[in-house]
């Protein structure tokens, strides 16, 4: 297969998969998969920047996705005035004091001469700072969380259009990545990996337990839809739309939800294409050359005048920001933030599978991997059942093995996923679209 033909064929094949799905299951389901696939692809793009471009092994993707989700809440949910009145200022003040304490400690560490005294001063400073923080922060939090806990119990957000949350999610993730990068980027390969994994777990722990911020595990629901995505229920009451749907011979429900999904798909596709274009342009420039040099050999790149640490930080922040944007998009699509559903298997490993299967170091590979793997993730469930039915079709009704196998079909998802991953890696170890 020639290098030019290969992508065309592969993208064609994936498109066919989706078409076939539409044929069998209808457009509604297909578009739902497309939308999540596009989001997966954007996440994969971000990871690919970090891994494919800089060799940074980040397995804390989940954390950045979640931060994007948090941004969606903080931007789009209206503020809760009662909660602000109850303790909003205290929370803010407490956080400021906490941040100042850490910043102050770092500053002291740098300014004071090394020695026992320095350690002592810093410890005293930290203890005092956090004591004050606790004094102000804890009661404020209790007050906020006591405001109608079943309905709100948090400070709420800014009440802005949710589209702003997408760049905001990027910024939030970038900020976190900057802090992480500043501390942990000195670590090598798997050590960095575990550090990022740990930090993402910390982020999730915060989202799960800081109710004043995002209601914790009580979840925030009812995140508004972005412009120009309509609500199905409204469409279904719109006479013009009903007439139009009838023209097409589709039921109002089907037509409306297809319209909604298409609008999302359009938005997501736009974001994806913009990002891929920007990334591709950079990758094919001296900037990309420099990054590849750093990836290939840091020591030598440094000797050739490239500031390895700064570049690593740059790409780590950028890649994380892209993941954050995708995270915000996903929460927007879901319409709710459920911290409990952030699990490494789904948000870190699966994204990695997308990157590797697509082909690390190849941006189009991320797109391909995202669309293909997400499709599989959803479709192996019915496929597994179907396969089991096929296998057991010869067995007598009520035969124990038949029952066992059909009942185990739900577990086929993992198995099938694994087998497919292995097959792809077996026949195209550098991914479907390898780096050129």
């Amino acid at each position: 297969m020639s290098a030019r033909l290969r992508p065309v064929l592969l993208f064609g094949a994936v498109a066919l998969l989706y078409l076939a799905t539409a044929y069998v299951y209808g457009w509604n389901l297909t578009l739902a998969i497309v939308n999540m696939g596009l989001i997966g692809a954007i996440m994969a793009l971000g990871v690919n920047m970090q891994w494919g471009y800089a060799g940074l092994f980040n397995i804390g993707i989940m954390g950045f996705v979640a931060l994007g989700g948090l941004a969606a809440v903080l931007i789009s949910i209206p503020p809760v005035p009662e909660a602000w009145a109850a303790g909003g200022m205290g929370v803010v003040l407490g956080l400021l004091i906490g941040a100042a304490t850490i910043a102050g400690a770092v500053l002291l560490w740098k300014k004071l001469p090394p020695g026992k005294l320095r350690g002592l001063i810093i410890v005293i400073f930290l203890v005092a700072g956090f004591w004050l923080y606790g004094k102000i922060f804890s009661p404020a939090v209790s007050a906020v969380e006591a405001v109608n806990p079943a309905g709100t119990g948090f400070l709420g957000g800014l009440g802005l259009p949710v589209l702003f949350a997408w760049p905001a999610g990027g910024l939030l993730a970038a900020g976190a990545a900057w802090i992480i990068g500043k501390t942990a980027l000195g670590l090598r390969s798997d050590y960095l990996a575990i550090a990022t994994l740990g930090i993402s777990e910390i982020i999730i722990a915060i989202l799960k337990n800081e109710d004043w911020l995002n209601r914790g595990v009580k979840n925030v629901i009812g995140i508004p839809r972005p412009w120009p995505v309509p609500y199905e229920v409204q469409l279904q009451q719109d006479q013009g739309f009903l007439a139009w749907a009838a023209d097409w011979g589709a039921s109002a429900a089907t037509a409306s939800s297809i319209i909604v999904k298409l609008s999302y798909a359009g938005l997501f596709l736009m974001v994806l294409l913009i990002l891929i274009t920007l990334v591709e342009l950079s990758w094919r420039s001296p900037w990309g050359r420099m990054m590849r040099a750093i990836r290939d050999n840091e020591v030598s790149a440094a000797a050739m005048g490239k500031d390895v640490t700064r570049r690593h930080l740059q790409i780590f922040v950028l890649g994380s920001a892209v993941v954050g944007v995708a995270g915000a998009m996903m929460t927007t699509l879901d319409g709710q933030l459920t911290p409990g559903s952030y699990q490494p298997l789904r948000f870190t490993f699966l994204i990695w599978v997308m990157v590797i299967v697509g082909g690390s170091g190849n941006n189009w590979g991320s797109l391909l991997g995202g669309m293909l793997i997400w499709w599989l993730w959803i479709m192996v469930e019915p496929m597994g059942l179907w396969l089991m039915q096929l296998i057991t079709s010869g067995m007598a009704e009520g035969y124990w093995l038949k029952k066992h196998l059909i009942e185990s079909a739900a577990h086929m998802r993992m198995l099938t996923m694994g087998v497919i991953l292995l097959l792809v890696l077996r026949f195209s170890p550098r991914g479907l679209l390898p780096e050129k």
Partner: protein, 375 residues
């Protein structure tokens, strides 16, 4: 007659996979009963489609539900199972597509007030109520101080908070109210903290297939607690198989009601070959039956039409209907009459959508969960 596709969206995999078979079997039993009667909408029959809601992964639940709704075109769904996933699928799939969902088991208080377009009902009560019941049970048994731990999700947290409020209101003391994560390898830290806080009873608002069992194990082994209070997520056969007599004297609560309905349901379940006592199985039967009766009343299987009749069938005037009497009910409805569906759990909707809340109290005796009383 037509073939009416109906959905069941339950967590076949995930932290409550052991409860899934009971609920499914009960719902299917109701479907079958109506189909066999030949009286449903001029002899329509029902086929079921299942979706794995996983109980925890909202995205996966949404995708699975999307499939049965948009491609299998189900007209109503028994599900979801857990509260978080139920909220997600309701808002993302059921409401946009106008499909009715009746959950047998999602009990979070937050679901009481959700905007739902008449598409959402539940045959189980809100945990706000269960909290009160748990507090009463403790009071009756003479316990004054307890430690609480809950599975860290909306169900666990909601229930734990409801319980704490209710218990403190009647003068009890909660020494600690701490979450635990499911599926972790070790619960030493949690048990240590709970033990340090102390208490006569450990209230364990968790999942029996998950961290809940780990906490029991840790507490028993270290001698931290010997008596437990198990709310609905914990009342399951694994308690008997894994701990047996070791937790004798512990007690539990879960939604269920006694009486004619329940007895009939138990008989039917026995005949059909599953355990009718399995948590939320009875609610599953009722969820399924209610949708069918509403269809008959509305003379349509279109959810947009029959959704308006659900309340009427459940809370209405007329002949009381118990499990196994669907044929009778259909006949009445076909004839233009009205029924009052009581079902296996004495269904009466409050707040326009949920069961008022009958609970049963169970106790571990000789390693077996035995029903002590209903309240």
């Amino acid at each position: 007659g037509e073939v009416i596709p109906m959905g069941i969206s339950i967590g076949y995999t995930g932290p409550l996979e052991s409860m899934a078979p009971g609920i499914t079997a009960a719902a299917e039993m109701a479907f079958k009963e109506a189909s066999d009667s030949g009286l449903l909408l001029d002899g329509s029959t029902i086929t079921t489609y299942k979706a794995d809601s996983t109980c925890i992964d909202a995205a996966a639940a949404t995708a699975a539900m999307e499939r049965i709704v948009t491609s299998d075109k189900v007209r109503g769904i028994v599900g979801g199972m857990c509260s978080g996933e139920t909220t997600a699928t309701l808002q993302n799939v059921a409401m946009p597509n106008g499909v009715v969902m009746i959950s047998p088991s999602a009990t979070s208080p937050a679901l009481s007030s959700l905007e739902a377009n008449d598409l959402f009902y539940r045959t189980s009560p809100s945990d706000a109520r269960q909290g009160v019941v748990m507090a009463e049970v403790l009071q009756e048994r003479g316990f004054k101080t307890v430690a609480v731990t809950y599975t860290n999700n909306d169900y666990g947290k909601g229930l734990a908070d409801a319980f704490q409020a209710a218990f403190e209101a009647i003068g009890g003391k909660v020494t600690i109210n701490a979450p635990h994560e499911d599926g972790k390898a070790d619960y030493t830290a949690e048990v240590g903290a709970l033990a340090s806080a102390g208490g006569e009873v450990l209230v364990l608002a968790g999942y029996v297939d998950q961290g809940g069992s780990g906490i029991i194990r840790g507490s028993l082994d270290s001698g931290a607690f010997e008596t437990f209070l198990f709310p609905d997520g914990m009342v399951g056969t694994p308690l008997e198989t894994n701990f047996g007599t070791q937790i004798d004297g512990s007690f539990g609560t879960n939604p269920a009601s006694e009486g004619e309905g329940r007895d009939k349901f138990m008989e039917l379940a026995k005949a059909a070959g599953f355990d009718g006592n399995s948590a939320f199985a009875a609610e599953g039967y009722d969820a399924a039956a209610l949708m069918l009766l509403a269809m008959a009343k509305a003379k349509s299987s279109d959810p947009a039409v029959y959704k308006k009749e659900i309340l009427g069938v459940a809370n209405g005037e007329g002949e009381k209907i118990y499990p196994g009497e669907l044929a009778k009910a259909l006949e009445i409805l076909n004839g233009g009459g009205t029924v009052n569906y009581e079902g296996a759990t004495s269904v009466t909707f409050v707040n326009g959508r949920e069961s008022a809340g009958n609970y049963r109290e169970t106790e571990m005796k000789d390693g077996k969960l035995t029903v002590v009383k209903y309240r």
